[in-house]
């Protein structure tokens, strides 16, 4: 069984990233958008972990990935609170229905 190369990891990361972006761009459901965000963050995480193999210590990228996970958790908590408020105001979580930030 041969070694899985870096490019394979990068491919997985890229697929995850593109899936996330597409999910964010296409979903009208707010929770769906949040899921897209998680996918984007984790695509990036895969890249971090994969690249960390080539650093002198071999741990830098993994540590960063841990930070990103924590960050994602915090972001999810805030975003879910926003979603709840959004629902209270609009009785839906369809993001297309909220355009109060229009200039």
């Amino acid at each position: 069984m041969g070694e899985v190369g870096l490019s394979a990891y990068l491919m997985v990361g890229a697929v995850l990233f593109v899936c996330g972006v597409v999910c964010m761009a296409t979903k009208r459901n707010g929770i769906g958008v949040l899921m897209g965000v998680e996918l984007v963050l984790n695509g990036a995480n895969v890249n971090f972990v994969a690249f960390s193999r080539y650093t002198s210590l071999g741990l830098d990228g993994q540590t960063t990935a841990l930070f990103v996970i924590v960050l994602a958790a915090a972001e999810a908590a805030v975003a879910l609170a926003i979603a709840l408020n959004f629902y209270n105001n609009h009785l839906t979580i369809d993001v297309d229905r909220g355009n109060e930030l229009q200039g």
């Binding site: 972006v21 229009q102 200039g103």
Partner: protein, 798 residues
Amino acid sequence: MPETGDILMFLLTAAWLLPLAGFVVEIYWLCFSHRLNKGAAYCAVACIGLGFLCSFSALMYWGFDTKWAALSEPAHHGHDTAHDAGRTEGGHEHDAHAANTEHADHAEHPDALTKKYYTGTYYELARFGALRVSLDWYIDSLTLVMFTMVTFIATCIHIFAIGYMHDELTEEYEDHEVHLHNGGHFSRPGRFHRFFAYLSLFSFSMLGIVLSGNIFQVFIFWELVGLSSYLLIGFYIERKSASTAANKAFIMNRVGDFGFLIGMMILWTSFGTFQFGDRTDGAHTEAGLFTMVRGQDGKLDVSEDGKQVYLQDAHGHRAEKNGQPLTISYMLLVAAGLGVFAGSIGKSAQFPLQTWLPDAMEGPTPVSALVHSATMVAAGVYLAARFYPVFTPEVLLGIAYIGCITLFIAATIALVVTDIKRVLAYSTISQLGYMMLAIGVAGWGAALFHLVTHAFFKSLMFLCSGSVIAGCHHVQDMSRMGGLRHKMKITAYTMLVGVIAIAGLAIPGTSIGLSGFYSKDAIVASALAYSELNPGHILLFIAPLVTAGITSFYMFRLWFLTFAGAPRDAHVYDHCHENPSIMTTPLLVLAVLAAGCAWGGEGGPLYRLIADSETVPAVARVASVGAAKVILPSHQGHESDVHHVHSTAGMLALISAIIGMSLAYLIYVKKTIDANQIRKQFSGVYDFLVDKWRFDSLYEAMFVAPVHIISAWCVSFDKGVLDPILHSAASLTVLTSKWDRAFDETFVDGLVNLVGTVTYNVGNSLKVIQTGRLRQYVMWIAVGVIVLFGALVTTIPK
């Protein structure tokens, strides 16, 4: 057991501050009471009356504490008798404790300047190195006598004023002296409470002068009495004459105070202290002014060339600083003395500043009685007496001549005046001249003796004149009176007591007379002794002697014109009436004192009390060492120069007074000599006297007219030169401002507005991008990432 000094200080401080409390209450009277309430007067009377009780008990306490040593026979100037004065006995038990008090008896100096005063500090205002300015107290028998006299007379006058000022107790006081354009009279709310507030302020300030322990503090209260005098003269401020008189009094006093300030500056720089008495700080005793000049033996320590005076320390040695003896230039000491005396000239209305006092009679009569005869004007004499140790013989000679000129000028003017109050005013000036003369001829005790007796009989006469004026409904001209003794018995006969007292009449052959007889005798005797020792200054004896006759003449003229003979104006006579008892009782009380306060003459209690605080004892002749070659006579004890000539002087003065009285009787009662005939005969002299020796015209020509001319120049300079410069500067400024404004409005404002507009437009045009649609944003992000990525790929070289 508190010390004597502290008890006296406490009592006198209470007497001093009570009128201040009264002033505060009365000036805010309308805040808690109304205009028609007499309470303000009762408050003022209570304050000053309590002040009198405090002062009197202080005097009594002092007397019993010293076992009335001052009243016993004064010490003769021999070694064996130096101790029998007894004044040391009371002191010894205190010597160990009393820090500021020395009853020291200098056995080795029989003529020693025995210190019989108490002094201390209330509060230190400021300190500049070794120099300090503080509020002090200085108490000796003179302070006590003055306190008792001032508070007593003030109490009598306050009570009298309740009656006299009664017509101010109204909401609508009509001032008949102020004519309005529509022919009516000016009308205003009554100012009863304010009058008493001013009186209280005056009492406080006057007592402050007497209690002061340094010359700077004297100056503070000196100005305060000036202020209260100003307020009281101008009490009827709506009358032009009253406001002018108030200004005149104030301004002429400032002229004197200018000299006072110069004197103070000299003292400050040369002596480094304002203190009168020695101040003990623990073991160190700091010499006061009097000690520094006069040392322990009362003599000036002049250097051999006569140009320097050595200052002395508290132990009777020459004061030294860094091994060099401290000295003051003799001329500087003369200048300091003259400067301080200039203040006295202003306050006591001496020549050449005498013209304000007659005008000051515009104030209500109780004010004339209290401020402008009995107390405030006597403050000048008091200061000269207090400062006696600092005066050199030259200064004393100047004082004597100033007094001599004043007493003669004022007496001659009084001969022709017909306003009852103004006669008394000129008489006051004349009597103050007597006091100054006495100080100048070394008759220190005689001067203050006369001050006290004069205060009693002159306040009595002023109150009597006030009673006449009130009874005659504000008629003051004696030529419209006459015969009033039938209607105003108490006023007439109390006035007669005052007249006899001031004239100095006595029963010939005996020495029984009223108070003025004794005190004037003392002065004339001092003058005679002086002129015998200094034949060149015989005028100093002749003038007071002749003036004694003139005084007697014009005072009896006043009495005869007012109270005797037939009524000259039926209207005035018919409407006049005796005043209520609140006004006559003070007259009776004062009459008793005016008659009897000098009981015993120079052997009596009053003189002894005063002479006890004499700081420069005159038991032997003092020959002057300075420029003025004069010999000051001795006046203590039976062997002294003054005592030798006393009976001669008394006889001459009495003869002079009797001549004056007889002339007045012949002219105004018997009419054997026609006054009009004399007036025609001496019309030149008469006009000269009616014009008050033309002093007002002289000052008009000397000071007022030049000031007017210079002012006119200044006005034209202002209008012709300064105003155009200012105007062109102003228009230049306006022009510049206009340019500045245009620049601001177009350029600066335009720039700022431009920035604002551009920013606004950019923002406006960019706002369409902000759609608020989330998924659109995400799409843009993705597109952006792709574009960036594409750019990266294409630009990075392989």
